[in-house]
């Protein structure tokens, strides 16, 4: 094995330069041309960064559309899901409690209208999106709290739908932060 040790050390050094310096630095430089310059795309309101377009944030106040439950409380210095199994009694109780909370804030809702994504925690804990149905059921509450016309809020939700890739691949979705920023701009 001795015969192979020196070549091993030397090729490791050479490859480190190629794979860990030249390759990532070139991509970093190319990334400067992307939206967000490779630092992550931010959303700016009145000159202030209010969040990252792709990173979900916590919305608990009634005048905002809410996102999905998060196992890490939307702390983006970490990430993760609940990792609760499908038959775990604690987990089922959590879901049941979330349904009750939703019904309390949306007394007009039938249980069958509540989509699963609004009462289950996401995989990353930072899911920026909700399903279209999850936004639509919150329209009436948001409109009441903001004293806005319900039709107008519903139209805003429709305008914020991100269609599937090329119209045919994957689910439609709504970015909660973008929706709420647009909502704040509504008169």
């Amino acid at each position: 094995m001795k015969k192979y040790l020196i070549p091993s050390i030397r090729i490791t050094i050479v490859l480190t330069i190629v794979l860990c310096v030249i390759y990532p630095v070139s991509i970093m430089l190319a990334g400067k041309l992307s939206k967000g310059a490779g630092n992550g795309e931010t959303i700016v309101v009145n000159g202030k960064v209010v969040g990252y377009a792709n990173v979900g944030q916590s919305f608990t106040k009634p005048q905002y559309f809410w996102g999905r439950p998060s196992a890490v409380a939307y702390n983006a210095a970490g990430s993760g899901g609940s990792n609760k199994g499908p038959s775990n009694p604690d987990y089922l109780k959590d879901v049941s409690n979330r349904i009750d909370t939703l019904l309390k804030y949306h007394p007009y809702l039938k249980r069958s209208e509540i989509p699963a994504d609004l009462v289950t925690a996401s995989g990353s804990g930072l899911d920026p999106d909700i399903s279209v149905q999850a936004a639509q059921i919150q329209v009436k509450r948001v409109a009441q709290f903001r004293k806005l016309d319900e039709q107008k809020v519903a139209a805003l939700v429709s305008s914020q739908i991100e269609q599937p890739l090329l119209g045919i691949f994957g689910p439609a979705r709504i970015n909660v932060l973008k929706l709420n920023v647009a909502l704040d701009g509504l008169k």
Binding site: Y4, N39, P86
Partner: protein, 572 residues
């Protein structure tokens, strides 16, 4: 829903469109035939010169394995010390600390072995230096190691009789320069232009729309995520892996990542056929593997789309399927598709949390890793399948009363013994590990350890058992995904899974290369009417039956205690 189904069909179609020409390309490239990427030759020659390597020096199977083991041991030692002292090294904008000895032991084995089981979280447990100079480096080199060893097997069966299996360094470097690096550049560019960070900026802080102060972890992730998939590695930048919205920002990146992790395993099977000039054999192998994948895929996708029956009882709408642990931008269909491909190949990256999938989905994930030969990891998948074929040849030989042969070489006691030992190794490692952990949880739950066994499991009863079974299965298969609820960041899990990963990586590489080397040395017997033909449908079915029987016998009792019991308890 239909758009979600179209999404996975398109992903599969694109995978095949890339993998078929890629297989041809790889066969030519490894054979040293003229090919359009030969313009890279001067660079490769420069690297060989700087490293003091003669890439044309022939190696027999023992020399080949010695070269492979030497460089892998070097990485183990070097990486271990870097991980422990990463806090004193540059590129640490977030001020993360060094890893403890047992965590570093586990982590470095895991990355050298192409497993990428992660008992740390990327945001807090690794510096940018570690992520690039150790993890990303090993993403490239561990994949190239597996591919180089597979090519040695190609080489053994190309010519009638051979002792020269080719040069390890040559196959190793070319796997990087001619395949992994160029494709990683393309994938990393797609990722960074879709929102995955690629700069070296540290954590950012902002005030959210409703007034909370939030810290966001970032870093040059796009570069690493590209090779993490292409090399079937799976070790992600962030804790939540490819479920993290910066690691996998939209449906396009999701398709890119799932295609990237499947093209090399598929292309390597086809390359084998082109290389040894037996295309029919390769397509037969592909057929058996694809049939196996579909056996996992169909129930997984339908199971996840049907949702959780216990949540259905609460009366809410599960029109989008089971959503716990999943991301809205991918949906359950693409997450189910990913969960199958990441477990049949040895990638182990996740775009949704496996711990929260339906009980039977967990069963398919476990079985996919237990078989570990339906496509499998870069290079090593082919080797695992090769072992099954040797066993199938042996059993068929016994059934028809002929001396078993593989591609014109007599399979004798020595080769069958090696194959049998490798076959028995997986159930031994998985069962012994799970039994030991279960014993600690039940008999010594409150033993005086820093992390008591009573706190290991995140879920009660059957699912808790599945968490332990999954951890060892994933370690042995060098997969690296996990039922992440398991409290695995402590000395018991770090040491035991570290040992399982190490044995589960290197013995199943050494075994097949040794068998191939031994067979290739033997006299070539021309095909006759009495030869067992291994490229027929009959032999394909035979191999599949061997795979089913071996795995069912080994694992059924454990699977019955875990996911099967959980499934039936939910139907009550």
């Amino acid at each position: 829903m239909n758009t979600e189904l179209f999404g996975i069909i398109a992903s599969f179609a694109i995978t095949m469109l890339i993998a078929i020409p890629l297989g041809k390309y790889l066969a030519k490239m490894y054979a040293g035939e003229k090919i359009w990427t030969d313009f890279l030759k001067p660079i490769e020659n420069g690297i060989f010169k700087l490293s003091g390597i003669n890439p044309n020096e022939p190696m027999n199977w023992k020399q080949f394995l010695k070269a492979m083991m030497t460089i892998n041991i070097l990485w183990l030692v070097y990486g271990f010390f870097v991980l422990m002292h990463q806090d004193k090294l540059p590129l640490n904008p977030d001020g993360n600390t060094g890893q403890s000895a047992d965590l570093a032991f586990n982590t470095i084995i895991s990355f050298v072995a192409n497993c990428n089981l992660q008992h740390y979280s990327g945001e807090s447990g690794a510096t940018y230096f570690t992520q690039h100079y150790i993890f990303m480096f090993l993403h490239f080199t561990s994949a190239a190691t597996g591919m180089a060893c597979a090519v040695a097997i190609f080489k053994a069966f190309r010519d009638k009789t051979a002792t020269d299996l080719g040069n390890f360094w040559n196959f190793f470097l070319k796997s990087i320069t001619r395949l992994l690096l160029p494709l990683s550049i393309v994938i990393a560019l797609i990722l960074t232009f879709n929102g995955t960070p690629s700069s070296y900026a540290g954590k950012d802080k902002f005030i959210s729309l409703q007034g909370d102060t939030v810290n966001v972890s970032r870093g040059p992730a796009a570069q690493m995520i590209a090779i993490k998939h292409l090399g079937t590695n799976g070790g992600g930048w962030f804790g939540a892996n490819s479920a993290h919205p910066l690691e996998n920002p939209n449906y396009l990146t999701n398709m890119t990542e799932i295609i990237a992790q499947f093209i090399v395993p598929v292309a390597m099977i086809l390359a084998f056929g082109f290389f040894i000039r037996r295309k029919k054999l390769a397509w037969m192998m592909f057929g058996v593997m694809m049939f196996g994948v579909m056996m996992f895929m169909i129930p997984t996708v339908t199971g996840e789309l049907n949702g959780n029956p216990l949540i259905a009882k609460m009366g809410i709408s599960q029109s989008t399927g089971a959503m716990e642990g999943k991301e809205v931008r991918f949906g359950p269909t693409a997450t189910a598709y990913w969960s199958v491909l990441t477990t049949v190949t040895s990638t182990g990256s996740v775009n949704g949390m496996h711990d929260s999938t339906m009980a039977l989905t967990g069963l398919w994930q476990l079985l996919a890793m237990m078989v570990n030969g339906f496509f499998g990891g870069c290079g090593v998948g082919l080797m695992n399948y090769f072992i099954y074929v040797i066993i199938a040849v042996f059993i068929s030989g016994l059934m028809v009363g002929r001396t078993p042969e593989f591609l014109g070489h007599k399979v004798e006691a020595r080769e069958v013994k090696i194959a049998a030992l490798i076959t028995l190794l997986s159930p031994f490692l998985i069962m012994a590990g799970t039994a030991l952990a279960s014993y600690m949880v039940t008999a010594h739950a409150n033993i005086d350890w820093a992390v008591k066994p009573s706190t290991w499991l995140n879920n009660p009863k059957y699912h808790g058992f599945s968490e332990m079974l999954y951890e060892y299965t994933s370690s042995n298969a060098n997969n690296g995904s996990g039922f992440e609820g398991l409290g695995d960041g402590n000395i018991f899990w770090n040491v035991t899974t570290g040992i399982v990963i190490l044995l589960g990586r290197f013995l199943p590489i050494i075994g097949p290369v040794a068998i191939a080397g031994l067979l290739a040395q033997k006299k070539f017997i021309p095909e006759s009417a009495g030869t067992l033909k291994i490229d027929t449908l009959t032999f394909g079915i035979m191999t599949f039956a061997v795979i089913v029987v071996l795995n069912a016998l080994s694992y059924f009792p454990a699977l019955a205690l875990g996911p099967l019991a959980e499934h039936f308890s939910m139907l009550k």
